[in-house]
């Protein structure tokens, strides 16, 4: 459903992704790990279309469409969701309104009828409960005054409401204690329906105890250096990323 071929991407003239390849089939969960600066977040931004990140060469196909040709919101409406590492605040715009608008845009794209106010509220309530956020937070500004954990849970809540086809989670576990982590993981797992795919970007293996991946990739120096099954994550936990340097040298 997502096929990335030899993707090169740079920001401010610095090349970060240097020929990345990845294939994600429907229903699969791929974990992306790697040392800091390797380009993990860059991958998320490039796929979602953030302006400062320029895809300089390579091909990305999403559901048989050329993803790189589409605008940010077009990609979103096409079913791509990015859960941000540092969600921004938008005071003055309530969470409720924001959700309503984005759910409405998504449903319209999919040819579905808009939700009635009652239906929407019901869904929102259920989603809130799932991520342990009180209902009244809907009245507050988007992420306004939210703690780090609340912001991450808000991202998952949006994911639940928008029903995307591909979810990219950019370090959704960073800064969370074990309980918050479980909430996030439960939220993500509840959305695994065999058709929806996930790219879980994380620095630590811990999250992957709760969101069991089908594949684990190590992103180092702008490329996938190694791919494997879930046991690869355990290897990383045991030996860290230093072994990568040796690995690169032997491959050079």
């Amino acid at each position: 459903m997502l096929s990335i071929k030899d993707l090169h991407a740079s920001i401010e003239g610095n090349e970060i992704l240097k020929g990345l390849n990845l294939n994600v089939k429907p229903g699969e969960v791929h974990a992306i790990m790697g040392p800091n600066g390797a380009g993990k977040s860059t991958l998320g931004y490039v796929l979602s279309g953030r302006e400062e990140y320029e895809a300089t060469s390579g091909k990305v196909e999403f559901q048989e469409r050329d993803l790189l040709e589409l605008e940010v919101d077009e990609r979103a409406r096409a079913g791509l969701f990015l859960a941000f590492q540092y969600p921004v605040e938008i005071p003055g715009v309530s969470n409720m309104e924001f959700l309503k608008e984005s759910v409405s845009a998504a449903r319209k794209e999919r040819g579905q009828d808009p939700l009635t106010a009652a239906e929407f509220l019901r869904k929102a309530k259920a989603a809130c409960e799932q991520v342990n956020l009180p209902l009244d937070f809907l009245k507050r500004g988007v992420n306004e005054g939210f703690s780090g954990g609340e912001k991450k849970r808000n991202e998952i809540m949006q994911m639940i409401m928008l029903e995307p086809t591909l979810c990219i989670l950019d370090e959704s576990d960073s800064g969370l204690d074990i309980d918050a982590l479980k909430v996030v993981a439960d939220g993500v797992n509840s959305q695994r329906d065999g058709k929806r795919s996930f790219i879980v970007i994380t620095h630590y293996q811990r999250l992957l105890d709760f969101i069991k991946p089908d594949f684990v990739h190590i992103l180092a120096d702008g490329k996938i250096a190694k791919s494997g099954g879930p046991e690869l994550a355990k290897e990383v936990e045991a030996s860290g990323y230093a072994w990568l340097e040796d690995h690169e040298e032997t491959n050079a």
Partner: protein
């Protein structure tokens, strides 16, 4: 059928202030003679002419304020024509098909219903028959309540005592250069009178002054709310106002007697014309209200457009416990300029004022808030709260805040805050990643920014104002 229409038309003009014999428009120039002719055209009583002449003589001795920083050519007052008759039936478009399609498109986008479109476009009355009957029922309801709402020229003739009592008491003829000019040559405007204890049964809107289809150059409005009464008045409309007149100098006076409340809302959309210019419309408005004991005056305004505006709705909080409020959204884009703000003068004890000003600048525009909060020495226990926020969209616009705060009373409290913010790339990216296109994202953020002001507008206006912002922001980003 056509007989009825004819009768309807002639009834409108029975006041006779349109004389088909006289020329429609005066030649440019201003002297005492011109003023006499204006007064004659309006069939005014002698005292009104005297009042005008005195204003004119004062004006001649005054100097025009220096607006060098606005960068415009000085106005030659002798090159302006000071009177022009309302368009006669013959000159009006016969149907919407004859009206500028751009205008119609805007009306549609704003969701303005068809018959109102016709009325706004000045389409000849045989097509707006519906509107005439709407107006008639409206007038009946007001008459029942004892409310007077008519053109000011009509009030001068029919209710001279009331007009004499209050005209010029809030904005004296010598108050400023443009007020003096207006006092001498005003021709259109509203007169509203709400009797004691009456709550005006409906929102009064300038829509319904169909006798006055001219956009007045020199409008004069006087609203008097007697003890314990209430009125909500709407000026302007979201539809773009075309104008060939270069100069507008209007005066609005609000008299709020003990325990009364006057709510004055303005939604103004100056027709933007082309992308390049400041349209050359100079809009100088002196708007002021005096609030007596326990009275309340609220000014709410939403403005967009290319006029160079000098407008500072003010409240003189004379009576103890009186309340003044100012809520404003000013949006500028392209190369437009807005210079607006308010003056709250606290004279009485325990008076309170609230100022919420939201400026939005996009493109190469510049948006300035200029305000004065003054606590007089007797304003024991008075309070002011001011919040001025500027939202900058893009990196070529400007936002300025110049608040003047003066206090001479130790128990008066003033709290003033100003912030600036921008629609950040991060915020836009978040919205887009959730499937909202960039225009929708901006309009949502801008609406959120203006929320506090919009909720003060009468309902229909609020909806229109939101749409107006959306349209005005179109194409201003990216």
């Amino acid at each position: 059928m056509s007989e009825q229409i004819d009768q309807a038309i002639s009834r409108e003009y029975e006041a006779g202030f349109v004389s088909d014999i006289e020329s429609d428009t005066f030649e440019p120039g201003l002297d005492e003679d011109v003023i006499r002719r204006i007064s004659e055209m309006k069939e005014e009583p002698e005292w009104m002419l005297e009042w005008r002449l005195q204003a004119f003589r004062s004006w001649q001795k005054m100097t025009e304020p220096d607006w060098a920083h606005l960068g415009y050519e000085p106005i030659d007052y002798q090159k302006i024509s000071y009177y022009s008759a309302p368009k006669s039936m013959k000159d009006r478009p016969k149907s919407l098909a004859e009206v500028d399609p751009e205008l119609i498109r805007t009306y549609e986008k704003l969701g303005i219903p068809l018959h109102e479109q016709e009325m706004l476009a000045g389409v000849a009355v045989d097509v707006v028959f519906d509107s005439v009957s709407v107006v008639t029922t409206f007038r009946e309801k007001l008459a029942e309540a004892g409310v007077i709402f008519c053109p000011i020229s009509e009030a001068i003739r029919k209710y001279p005592e009331l007009v004499k009592k209050y005209l010029g008491t809030v904005v004296p003829r010598t108050d400023n250069f443009f007020a003096a000019l207006n006092s001498a040559v005003f021709t259109d405007g509203s007169f509203v009178y709400i009797p004691k204890g009456v709550r005006c049964p409906m929102e009064l809107s300038t829509y319904f002054r169909i006798n006055e289809l001219n956009t007045g150059q020199f409008e004069r409005t006087l609203i008097v709310a007697e003890e314990g009464s209430y009125v909500s008045y709407l000026e302007g409309c979201t539809a773009p106002q075309r104008d060939e007149n270069q100069l507008h100098a209007a005066v609005v006076e609000l008299v709020a007697l003990d325990d009364s409340e006057i709510k004055y809302s303005t939604v103004q959309n100056w027709y933007p014309g082309d992308e390049n210019g400041v349209g050359g419309i100079f809009n100088f408005v002196t708007k002021r209200g005096v609030a007596e004991k326990n009275a309340k005056i609220s000014w709410t305004q939403v403005e967009t457009g290319s006029a160079i505006t000098w407008k500072y709705p003010s409240c003189i909080l004379r009576g103890d416990n009186s309340v003044g409020e100012f809520y404003s959204v000013a949006l500028t884009r392209s190369r437009q300029q807005a210079d607006t703000g308010t003056k709250m003068i606290h004279l009485g004890k325990n008076t309170t004022s609230t100022i919420i000003s939201k400026g939005i600048s996009a493109g190469n525009s510049s948006n300035t808030y200029r305000g004065l909060v003054k606590m007089g020495p007797n304003a024991d226990g008075a309070r002011n709260f001011t919040e001025c926020d500027s939202l900058l969209i893009g990196d070529t616009c400007a936002a300025h805040t110049f608040p003047y705060i003066e206090s001479a009373n130790p128990t008066a409290i003033v709290e003033h805050e100003a912030t600036t913010s921008t629609v950040s790339d991060d915020q836009l990216f978040l919205c887009q990643q959730r499937g909202l296109d960039i225009e929708k994202a901006i309009s949502m953020i801008v609406n959120g920014f203006c929320k506090e002001v919009f909720k003060e507008l009468p309902m229909e206006f609020a909806v229109e104002a939101g749409k107006l912002l959306e349209i005005s922001l179109e194409g201003s980003v990216g």
